[in-house]
Symmetry: C2
Subunit: 335 residues, 2 copies
Amino acid sequence: MPTQSREIRLARHPEGEPALDDFSFASVEVPNPGPGEVLVWNVCMSVDPYMRGRMNESISYVPPFQIDKPMEGGAVGRVVVSNEEKLPAGTFVQSFCGWREAFVAPASSLQTVDTTLASPSTYLGLLGVTGLTAWVGLFSIARLKDGETVFISGGAGGVGTAACQLARMHRCRVVASAGTEAKVAFLRDELHVDYVFNYRDGETLEHLKKGAPDGIQVYFDNTGGPQLEAALSVLTNYGRVALCGGISGYNHPVAGPRNLSAAIGKRLRLEGFIVSDHMQERSAFLAEAIPALQSGKLKNCETVVEGLDVAPAALIELLHSGAGNIGKMIVELSD
Amino acid sequence: MPTQSREIRLARHPEGEPALDDFSFASVEVPNPGPGEVLVWNVCMSVDPYMRGRMNESISYVPPFQIDKPMEGGAVGRVVVSNEEKLPAGTFVQSFCGWREAFVAPASSLQTVDTTLASPSTYLGLLGVTGLTAWVGLFSIARLKDGETVFISGGAGGVGTAACQLARMHRCRVVASAGTEAKVAFLRDELHVDYVFNYRDGETLEHLKKGAPDGIQVYFDNTGGPQLEAALSVLTNYGRVALCGGISGYNHPVAGPRNLSAAIGKRLRLEGFIVSDHMQERSAFLAEAIPALQSGKLKNCETVVEGLDVAPAALIELLHSGAGNIGKMIVELSD
């Protein structure tokens, strides 16, 4: 009997903040797997800020979601029917076939994950693309060096929590911002970030002057907007900015930094990046991250919500200034 | 009898656009040169946009001019009294002791220039720091490659005219902007720039789409402001921006680019630079520029005004949108 799978589709392109009506649910028949294929049931799915860009009609750096087609996203699932002996039933695999319960795919297109080493969702978070994004931004793009001072905006998000911890592991002074008091407390008390502030409480520039009296050498930008402008003010000569995300402007346009010309005199470098260009750095990253996770030096930080039905609300929430999630936003699917 | 030299001093820090009252003139006694020193009479002086930043009280990348002290700037002069046999009277030398008629300095602090090769003012323009700035921005910072398309704002200025010509010599498609019809005609008819537009006539973005239908790989930014925003829109993936000047904002603040987050998806790199960090590239630059100047492939573009008295007005004019100078602004001093 064919399998039924519920999935989330894009119903229409949002204007500004997405609404629940921009999403729809459908139940589709998943075919039986053919030769070399496997049937996978997802156990957890990734909810990411960049998905907002894909909901627009215009082309982002990844193709836009199509109306009435399933949305896509990172997911970890379990093989339940296998026609490929290398991926027997019971194996956990990673895919970009999230936002649905089940799917059939060629075994060769899936990546095995070792759930004895870490929980499935860790492969969407610290050990996944999220952690690698933090690593690439800090060390490949911004070339952060031991002992430098780095400012990380959106410090309590999935990428932010990974970046804060990785920078601290490299003996850097870390200044981070977040949008709720709970997040601020988490970064300060759990991740031991050197100076944390709520960017909605006072001027970011004043916080940066307090948290980094001698300036910063690196800014890891998850937000764009006013925090980028403040960072440009306190970057020291030859400072570097890793442009990773612009969540402040995903729903609504924001003003640009009025002081970008400071980059001339201070010889600043601002560089945008996308983690998929850097998959070859994954093994170096994991060689550092896995032992650190096992020894407790690194934590996988996540907020888990339950059930396919809440995924749209989780994405809407994530994009809010002052969203509730600490760390990676994960949707867990019941078996 | 000691020499009298007139000099231009900063009278007060300008608010917005500088006024003639912000400058003062004084006559000072130049001492007789001591051992190893020479007395130099300037024959031409450089007038540069960056001088506006030095007129502010706050620290730019070069120290601010001091109230009631002589302003400084690039100059070429002739040795008239020499106490150092390596620099006999009659030798032409380059210095940063401009904005005055005469000065005494250690011979070892001055650089000889060969006026049989090019006129004295060429060493302030194409063969000087101005030409080197264009070279460094295009090839070291933006890593412009043969066959690429580059947009150069402020294309008719000293740096701009050098950059347009150097890029064309490297078989690049050049799109340039300027602020008067005379400048547009000069860039099109004399320098053979592929597409030139008046940035005050229509939308820069529309001009760029017309001049570079497949987008640009490099933007050489002399202006900041709206032209930077438009350039960010048409840069292709992995595009590079050399942040060289922000003349649109020197007198008054301008809005920042609202689309800087486009740098993420397109993996853009924006990098500020100052030519004095790159003096080691001078010999490679001159090895290319001198033969090209001699063969007529490169032209030294300049606008010459006469006499120390007009230097303040020349600087004020240079900073105007739609200033009259084409190429490098030079003040020539009578003997």
